[in-house]
Symmetry: C2
Subunit: 504 residues, 2 copies
Amino acid sequence: MSLPFPKLTPQEAAAHVEHGQTIGFSGFTPAGAPKAIPTAIADRAEAAHQSGEPFKIGVITGASTGPSLDGALAKANAISFRTPYQSNADLRARINAGDTRFFDMHLSMMPQAVRYGFLGPIDWAVIEACDVTAGGGVVLTSSVGAAPTFGRQAKRVLIELNRKHPATLLGMHDIFEPADPPHRGEIPIFHASDRIGSPIMTVDPSRIVGIVETDREDETGGYDPSTPETDAIGNHVAEFLAAEIEAHRLPSFLPVQSGVGNVGNAVLAALGRHPQIPQFEMYTEVLQDSVVDLICSDRVKFASTCALTLSPPALDKVYSDLKFFRPRILMRPQEISNHPEVIRRLGLISINTAIEVDLFGNVNSTHIMGRQMMNGIGGSGDFTRNAYLSIFTCPSSAKGGKISTVVPLVSHADHSEHSVQVIVTEHGIADLRGRSPHERAELIIENCAHPEFRPELHAYLRMVKSGHTPHTLRAAFAFHCRYLDTGDMHGVEWGPLASTPSTR
Amino acid sequence: MSLPFPKLTPQEAAAHVEHGQTIGFSGFTPAGAPKAIPTAIADRAEAAHQSGEPFKIGVITGASTGPSLDGALAKANAISFRTPYQSNADLRARINAGDTRFFDMHLSMMPQAVRYGFLGPIDWAVIEACDVTAGGGVVLTSSVGAAPTFGRQAKRVLIELNRKHPATLLGMHDIFEPADPPHRGEIPIFHASDRIGSPIMTVDPSRIVGIVETDREDETGGYDPSTPETDAIGNHVAEFLAAEIEAHRLPSFLPVQSGVGNVGNAVLAALGRHPQIPQFEMYTEVLQDSVVDLICSDRVKFASTCALTLSPPALDKVYSDLKFFRPRILMRPQEISNHPEVIRRLGLISINTAIEVDLFGNVNSTHIMGRQMMNGIGGSGDFTRNAYLSIFTCPSSAKGGKISTVVPLVSHADHSEHSVQVIVTEHGIADLRGRSPHERAELIIENCAHPEFRPELHAYLRMVKSGHTPHTLRAAFAFHCRYLDTGDMHGVEWGPLASTPSTR
């Protein structure tokens, strides 16, 4: 049956988009993000710029995307405004140079902010699909992200029909968009595997301007192999959780959320092989390769996610045996995968990675030296604040040992001491629950900091004796300033910093 | 009918408590906090200390309490550990001197942390009641706080039966304690006025050790009258919300949460008198005098709260006409009044007061100069993070104009830029939604900062041109250090701070 929508080339689709418009793109991580249309829009922007004409658009996505979307548009300097999370090197450079205005927000909140009108009108939704019906039904691909909200809110819609994703993905998604206050009901998820919505999202067919067919692969990079450091972090987390079970502070093994990346992979692998950790479920925003392995070995019973952020071989593995994986994996909109209501109800064990932590339990997830945006807060705030147990992992040093990731004061606070319960580095665990700032500082220095930096951190603490949180504001960023001045955090000189009234 | 529980003097009750034990006290603000028993415990501690014996207890409450609880125990140096929020001057001094270990946490999370065992065992619950049944039914007084959780978790229970609160308060409370994961269901509140639990809390009667009768009044201080400054803040908030209705970004008038204090009183009064603001409901943690007035004038239709933090005359007004107020006011446990699930579902308009805000939208609610604890985070994090609209109010200066409450970087970050949407001072409104850090800084300086400090704040921004968040870490606390050195934030010298590699 042929579809009643015009078939367009990427260039024809891109020709519809005008300078100054805002586009909501599907995708959550490079999984499920459009590729052909954004690349064509970037080409258009470059041509316009060469003719001396302005061409920039507002870009709203689910989270990060791939080189054909954020990358191509950033290279063309075609993004005026961008939200939320991103992780592309070219886009990061544009944001830090001030070429692109970036608004960093909690991933669960973005779809409702769009519906509430807080981010202005959405001119276009560009959505990657593996199948489309004549009535406007859209079967998404390897993620859900915010596609259902963009599809409903956008004035006009372009579909990228990607044959690389099989149409038999139907049934892997659970599309549910909550009503807005004052009419919102409960989000009726009581177990990680509860299905509450539809396998298909719907778009008003009169707003579908056309369909672009492609067969481009998801642009998810692979993962680095584990290292002794990431293995040690993983083992510490597994040991800590096993001890919590033993102490009856974990009533049973609760669903796990794990941040993406090499540390996340190592943590999941460690949970999978620990003899005292039972089979478990996941309620998370991103599935990475390690989870596919754990599902195959029956260590993970079920995984709810927003995206299949898998290397191409791992994605092929899932796609080639959908009969096995369909009852074991479900993709949800980010508003649901990251919803505070569900996270707190299910009681997640939340494990995320920090850029740096401070002596009192505050976590920086976003900024390098307080100034340069790395990727964004992503879902870490949604999960951390509402989890049953909230754990942050972090290697104790970076840049070949020149940076201590344990600092007196984080240079940007994304998760405050009130939301961070446990910190884990390759050296050990600091369990901050019920601890005063002084106690936390001792635990973090002794258990987590790199031994080379412990004396300097102790010296910082000793500067003042009074105050609930014994900060010396004049010296709080001495580690960072030393690095900015010399390229190495070692060798901070406290003397002149400690001798002024403001340290008393 | 006489009760089957021993009648005790406060001294007899206090004699049961031993050094090293942990007590969970009822009360949320001074409303509903026990008075006779904690004072007697403080006397016991003083006597012990005079005999050279140690006597310190762990104190867990709903939130702040009054002079007879936190005050008396702090004066006696009888508190080893304290959580969560407090506001008593003597206790604050103990915390900042290191005599009392303080753990500051989100108020909605404390009861579940107790149930999960994260704060250790609870030896005693001490609960103020207006009525008790032989089977262990307890009718609470002017707050709920965490009393139901303490009553269920504590090994033994002492009741303070306070005749100042009428037994006819029965029906003013809605007691509901959620099950713990993995068995938790939804919190079935869909409108501010929904009643979901019992009017009475229950305690295993075999654990009730005795009852102390008192008739001591709640120790809630009064409120200062409004000032031109607080009125200006209130009017800006009302104008902003009226404009949001006009712009169709508020679908109808959603329930309001307002922080306690003089600014809060002024904001509520301004909402009450603004012609474009319709009659509204409240879903909040603390009711203060202004809400009683707004209920009487039919501007507030219903108020859900955790506590009646009213001046004695306002409390008398409510108690003397319970027939009128019972269908209009409901008191809930803090776990429910502050529950993220309910706050996000109802879509609250959340209005809280900041100690200081920074150029990029981060808010400090807890620390003075990064070091001294003021009161604690209270419920501000529960509400701010999950609200439909999150507003922070703050006079633009403090200490007679010597402190700018708008600073380059907050000295403690309790609410990050990701959760703060609108900042209001007496000078105006900064609407940060969808704005990049550079844009936010311009809005905050121009609309909110005190004019005397605007040039210095602009100068800070101009130091660097690059970076998503243009911080100069070496100078980020220059305002604070200037104040610590000279007693005045005016006259920061940027020169030497700006001339090092770390500012580039």
